[in-house]
Amino acid sequence: MISTLAYGLTIGGILYIISIGLTLTFGTMRIVNFAHALVYTVGAYVVMTVTSKVWNNFFFAGVVAIAVAVPLSYAIERFVIRRLYGQSIDYAIIATYAVLLVGIDAVKWLWGATPMPLSDPLSGASITLGAVDLPLYRILVIGVALLVFVALEVFFRRTIVGKIVVAGLENKEAVRSLGINVDRFFTIVFLIGSALAALGGVLYAPITSIHPYMGFQVLLLCFAVVLVGGMGNIRGSFIAAFALGLVIAVTGRFWGPAAETMVFVVMAVVLIFKPIEA
């Protein structure tokens, strides 16, 4: 049971890291960003390529992956999303989905469609807790997620940039009337979110296999996290991510194939009792 819990928390941590970007882009720009999954996929692929071709150092590869993801997401923001600000949300959904289609096909073109595994960067090291062995890597992922949470809390409560963004989440017009160029700060937020999506891809890559469509499934789960946690609510998605991660793990223990579907059932139940306006 402890290993199930640890697995759930690992998945939850990764879901949290990825869904921050989604919830922030929705909260600030009212845009649902399907292209987020592309950044995540690219992150995973870059890690795999760097560790196998350049230098077999997971940390270095992770940094490279994030360094690749940021310009990519900047291009997406600059050429697609920025042109859709303030318009009907449907067009943003369709346009970012189109970007996702183009990007995933490019990934297939570059790397091929066959799933590729990535070995555990800590070479299977584990720690013993009571009677169970826990892979150290999973503990590391949970640690990184907590670290990201603390860092974001500090960023949003203590720094000027973070405070402007939080204020922008509350009321964009009021912030703008103070003479602050909100959109520039939103771009920063978008890039942070994308860097975290790439980090999520990096962290998830050794746990699952890497394939072009890996982003779709995770994106759906992250949408569930964002909807359950409340759109634009950073702390809410923290709690929702870990809760849904546990749902996946516990369901998976009893009936493997149903694990991810159960998340949507939980989401539906939450939505019945807590309708959202968006």
């Binding site: 189109a98 970007v99 996702l100 096909d105 194939p257 579907t261 949507f264 939505l271 968006a278």
Partner: protein, 318 residues
């Protein structure tokens, strides 16, 4: 229904649509055109929700799939009569809409799209894994239909005729629906739901009814597909295919019945003939979608209608 106002043509539009599809059948072979017609019914169902009510669903394949599986299962276990299968598909689609509709229609915008997608994912899982004993899982399920009153539904042209008749019926009913006070109310909800509520309407009820109609007609299209293919696979519920119907709706022009028909036919022509020549099909689809969103939001039908107006010098109402 506000389409370009050549009143003489509009009066005979059902006949014209029928003739156009028969022409297409003559040009592109009957089985292929049957596919086109069924897809057009699906696009019409989708357009009621997206075009007229302004709710973008990203999970409409679920309702198509419900109809497809209902028809196939009915053929296997209930009766080999295709009309029973179609009726059951329609009813099942409506029931599913009624069941999950109350959760879905309370949301708008992004949530609406995503919750539909989530339910589609659940449905896909149920078809592939949870009920694989019933649905045949990945392998799918075949369905055979007996002749009814001497008419053999294994013949392509019979299915073609049936589909065309269904399409014309759907078009006619949609036109009536859109022009009715209910249809006007739907379009008002799209513009400003709060105001409709101010006027004292219970918008939830109207949205639910529209949603159920849309799911039922989508499921009906799914049932027709099975009568046509006599085989159902999980690809009929595949959430990844949702983009097709959105694409068709956009390319033809949302919130117009003729636009939906144009979009359905154009998309099917693209999807049937281009993948053989284009290696990067998804990339192509993505770029065309971007182009549509940024440059051609009005859709093909409106350009055609505008062209007509310019040449005939008549007043076009769009």
């Amino acid at each position: 229904m506000k389409v370009f106002d050549l009143s003489a043509l509009r009066r005979f539009d059902l006949i014209l649509i029928g003739l156009l599809f028969i022409g297409l059948g003559w040009l592109l072979t009957i089985p292929r055109t049957t596919d086109f017609i069924i897809f057009c019914i699906f696009v019409l169902a989708y357009d009621l929700l997206y075009g007229y009510m302004g709710r973008l669903s990203f999970g409409h394949m679920l309702y198509l799939g419900v109809g497809a599986y209902a028809a196939a299962l009915s053929a296997q276990h209930l009766s080999a009569n295709p009309f029973v299968a179609l009726l059951l598909a329609l009813v099942c689609g409506g029931l599913v809409g009624l069941l999950i509709g109350p959760i879905i229609v309370r949301t708008t915008g992004a949530c609406f799209a995503l919750i539909n997608l989530a339910f589609n994912q659940v449905g896909f899982f149920m078809a592939v894994t949870a009920f694989s004993d019933w649905t045949g899982g990945e392998d799918g399920l075949s369905a055979f239909f007996d002749p009814v009153m001497g008419v053999n539904f294994g013949k392509p042209w019979v299915v073609f005729g049936l589909s065309l008749a269904c399409l014309l019926a759907v078009v006619y009913l949609m036109k009536r629906l859109i022009a009715s006070p209910f249809g006007i109310l739907l379009r008002t909800i799209k513009e400003n739901e709060t105001r409709v509520q101010f006027l004292g309407y219970d918008t939830f009820r109207y949205k639910l009814v529209a949603f159920v109609i849309s799911t039922a007609v989508a499921a009906f299209a799914g049932g027709l597909t099975i009568v046509n293919y006599v085989f159902v696979t999980p690809s009929f519920v595949d959430p990844g295919r949702n983009v097709e119907v959105i694409f068709a709706c956009l390319i033809g022009g949302a919130a117009s019945i003729y636009g939906a028909l144009t979009g359905g036919v154009v998309f099917m022509i693209i999807a049937n003939y281009l993948p053989n020549h284009i290696e990067r099909w998804e990339m192509f689809l993505g770029f065309v979608l971007l182009l549509l969103v940024f440059r051609f939001r009005a859709g093909l039908w409106r350009y055609i209608a505008a062209l007509f107006t310019r040449h005939l010098g008549k007043e076009a109402v769009l």
